[in-house]
């Protein structure tokens, strides 16, 4: 007995499934690939570094191998005063972001400018590099590009870091890792919706705002305010510090978890933090036995809490 082989059915299946893959994978892919990166996309990826999730350089998501963002007012090479400038410092062996590694990601014109004017591809990971985002005009339209200032102006990573004190350094790349690892995005979205949401949480992102960033961590289940522009609504580091340590200190009805464990063992002065004593004192305050809550320790410069605050404050 000759068995039915389902030849027609198998081919129809291939055709049907293949067509839907063509429409839902190939067509969007070529469409999205034609989008040029915006200034925001360049700032984001230069601040975040290569990957915001699991990676070779940081398999346990501790924030290793990430750039430091600095705000400087002096030229690191000459010492001359310059306009306030935000620079992204990649010490040696810190992986470059995707747009620098694969300029094509930035889109046709920005990548051409970044390579020709910004000498972006001259940067060498082994040596480290410093990048800034600049804009120029092409045909009456402003086009952003990435400048490798180590090549164009001789700003070395060490010299650039030396021009920024602790107050002017932001560990945004490490903070993004904390944001992803701690699952902040399970409740706080990074995508205002195309509704009245704009009036509350700010403008939605544009098509080219994400080129080179991974993961985008938009979030899907909003149990808490959108954070896309949170740094513009609230830029108080003190508020953020209290809120991360115990959200109920600043918002009694908050259901956010306490992130006190991100402070580590010691505070900014190197003093050990006694969590049990703090919680006991807070319970006293909460039950009305004391008038003031206990002091929240200032996080150390290398703590995870500091990096997370840097990340959140810089979501403008």
């Amino acid at each position: 007995m000759a068995f039915r082989e389902y030849k027609v059915g198998a081919r129809m299946f291939g055709l049907a499934f293949g067509s839907s893959m063509f429409i839902t994978l190939y067509m969007p892919a070529i469409d999205i690939a034609g989008v040029s990166a915006t200034t925001s996309a360049m700032e984001r990826q230069l601040a975040f570094g290569r990957v915001g999730g699991f990676s070779y350089e940081d398999p346990f998501l501790r924030g290793h191998g990430k750039p430091v963002t600095v705000d400087i007012v002096q030229d690191p090479k000459t010492g001359a005063a310059i306009e306030p400038t935000r620079a992204y410092v990649y010490p040696s062996e810190v992986p470059f972001p995707n747009g620098v590694r694969h300029p094509r990601i930035l889109g046709e014109l920005p990548s051409e400018l970044s390579v020709s004017k910004g000498r972006m591809t001259d940067a060498d990971e082994a040596q480290g590099a410093v990048f800034i985002v600049r804009e120029t005009t092409r045909g009456g339209v402003s086009v952003p590009y990435i400048e490798n200032v180590t090549a164009t102006r001789g700003w070395t990573p060490d010299a650039t870091l030396a021009k920024a004190d602790d107050k002017n350094r932001a560990f945004i790349g490490k903070g993004k890792i904390m944001f992803v690892r701690e699952g902040c995005w399970w409740c706080h979205t990074l995508l205002p919706e195309q509704t009245q949401d704009w009036q509350y949480f700010g403008a939605p992102p544009m098509l080219g705002d994400f080129n080179g960033e991974s993961p985008t961590a938009f979030g899907s289940d909003r149990k808490a305010p959108d954070l896309t522009h949170v740094g513009s609504r609230n830029s108080s580091r003190e508020w953020m510090m209290l809120h991360f340590f115990n959200p109920r200190l600043v918002q009694p009805h908050s259901i956010m978890p306490r992130y006190e464990y991100m402070w580590g063992d010691v505070d900014a002065d190197g003093k050990p933090i006694d969590y049990d004593a703090w919680r006991a004192a807070y319970d006293e305050y909460e039950s009305g036995n004391t008038i003031y809550p206990p002091e929240v320790p200032v996080p150390a410069a290398d703590s995870e809490a500091r990096a997370l605050i840097d990340f959140v404050i810089n979501l403008k």
Partner: protein
Amino acid sequence: MFKYLFAKNEDIPAGSAAVFFGFSSIVWFVVGTAIGSFNAAKLAFPDFVMGSEILSFGHMRQVHVLAVILGWISMAFAMAMMYITPALGNTKLWSEKLGVWNCFLWNVGLSLGLFLLWLGVTSGREYSDLPWPIDIVVIVGVLVPLGINVWMTIKTRRVQGIYTTNWFFGAATFMVIIVFSVGNAPEFFQLTGLTEAYLTWWFAHNVLGLWITPVAAAIAYYVVPKVTGNPLYSHRIGHLHFWSVVVFYSTPAAHHLMSAPLPEWLKSFASVEGVLILVPAIAFVSNLLLTMTGKWRMFVENIEIKFTITGVMMAIPLNMQGGFQQTRAINWYVHGTGWMVAHAHLALLGFSTFLEAAAVYYGLQTLLRRKLYSLGLANFHFWMLLIGFTTYWVSMTIAGLIQGAGKIYEVPYIDVVIAEHPYMIARWVGGTMVFLGNCVWLYNMWKTARAGTVIPVGRLPHELAYER
């Protein structure tokens, strides 16, 4: 189990792999719902268990999601495939040894992956959270061996045609390999930006549409005719269901990102295709309910039919929601709210879980040749699942509507949080009921394996009377 890993294929009793998968799936269901209940408690009472990084909500949420999807749901699918596929082909499983290895690697790989996720080792992408080395383990150790076993069992069948259930099994095991490989491509190949965001939701949509929904439906196509003794109402409607799943369910992925700056043509296309998932849904539900003709007494008396038909009927609200909530007119109100959480649980804890539970109940009795130990405990399990789930679904739907109103009327967010609090407690109560019901189920199936009445040769489990 371990003694079979290195035994000869012929020496492994037929059905071993399916039994291992069956019990693994129940254990993962208990684990997954326990974590779910724990997480829900944290949302209702934020200071419940604090000061520990790995026990924080942000570390536990993805463990719950993947434990139930890859542990409970997918292992129950593997269990169903490993006894239904050969049964429908009048043959034995192509390789029992591959099946046992498949189960072993699945449990090891999933435990490792969830442990890493628990530590915070994540790709930061919803549903494809597992870091890429674990993705490769899932593809190579879990999905491909399962597919090979199913395809080869269908190929070496000893009957002329292929029954509806096996079309779905064969196609879904193929499609899920493609979906898992392509969906995780952003991690394998460092794809970034909107491509990454889109592929994240392409994966999340298609793993539901091309894996969970069709395989769960395929189980119903087997269990209802088998247990009631009625032939399937219409083979043709089954065709309509199958082909419309392949064509319509594989295309609307972008409707998960209606607010993202994706190309507008893509969102509009996805939205239209999304409404068309009503075609397979209506075909499926009508076909199965019409198959029940004359046997509706079994909906009350028989535990497998009770679970299956409840699951089939849940496909009605599920697809009415699914088809319409993704259109722009409704999506702007409910997107990102508890409504979606309720909908996701209607799909996974309502529709598909009830169908899989039926397959595991029926399959374990068939394979172990033991009658179910206690109908009373099984009914308790059923009602705990149904009432627990309904409590969850109703409370989260209300919470979602509150959130939606808060969103469009620009209510300060904290007022939404305050308004949601009672529903968060209700959700925790509902989820905990599901967890407790599952503990009873594990006990019941364990007792079935040990102390259930032996089913005589030539008899089917549902032909014997319940004893307890």
